[in-house]
Amino acid sequence: MIEMPVIYQDKCNGCGLCVNVCSSNTLVLYRNVITFIEAGVCGWCAMCEAVCPTGAINCPYEIVFEESSF
């Protein structure tokens, strides 16, 4: 399964700033609901998380040691 940023719809105020800054055009605001339109395209730049004023979108990182990443 492709990892995707996490959206908390209850925190989202529909401002659309995340859609505005998304460099891979992966995010869309439809009827005030933020959603991803293409799972594999997101480059994880985390700009959506940076600009969100309510913390409604998170780009969590898994932290691993190189030898355990296989």
Binding site: L17, V19, G43, V51, G55, N58, I63, V64, F65
Partner: protein, 223 residues
Amino acid sequence: MAIQLETLKSIDHFSGLDRAELEAIKGLMFEVKAGRGEFILHEGEPADALYFVVSGVVKVFKTSSEGKEQILLIVRPGESFNDVPVFGGGVNPCSAQSMGEVVLYGIRTGDMEAVLKTHPRLAMNVMRVLSQKLRHMVSLVEDLSFKHVTARVAKILLEYAGDGTGPKPKLTQQEMAAMAGTAREMIGRSLKDLEEEGMIKMERHRIVITDKEALQRLAGIVL
């Protein structure tokens, strides 16, 4: 599109102003549109206008002589940038670049000075906004000793790294910032520095620690 009075009301500088005051200011403003990644201001160039974000997001940053970028502010709708040279004189201390499609309202330095002289409520708003920005900058200055912040980030990465024995929580940059007691902008800078030093590798949704010993030395962990 003409300058909208309703949009002016949502801008911090103009909050609480009456219709007549807003109409006077509206007549002096101009609209600017920028595409993704477009530079609105360049660091070091003469400053000619104060800008307000109407839609979209602008990042304000400085660039070092080695080309390293440090984001100082992310400017959202209703907020301003380029206040310092407009009110204090001098050149743009920072660059400003659109992060997506943006619409801005601008007012030239001379016009802003004229309006401030005749509208004391505007002057009070400007002082309040500048105070808030100054507070933010003081906090950033506290964090701008890169070694300390990067060392704290190194420690966090080591604490949260999975070793394959069980699930570990994933961390967002916002969470790392809260743990390190710093601004989110500093985390991005620190992660880039660690990657350049060869201690970590940034993958799509993973941070891979490639030099554990170097990271431990940076974090001040003595074995």
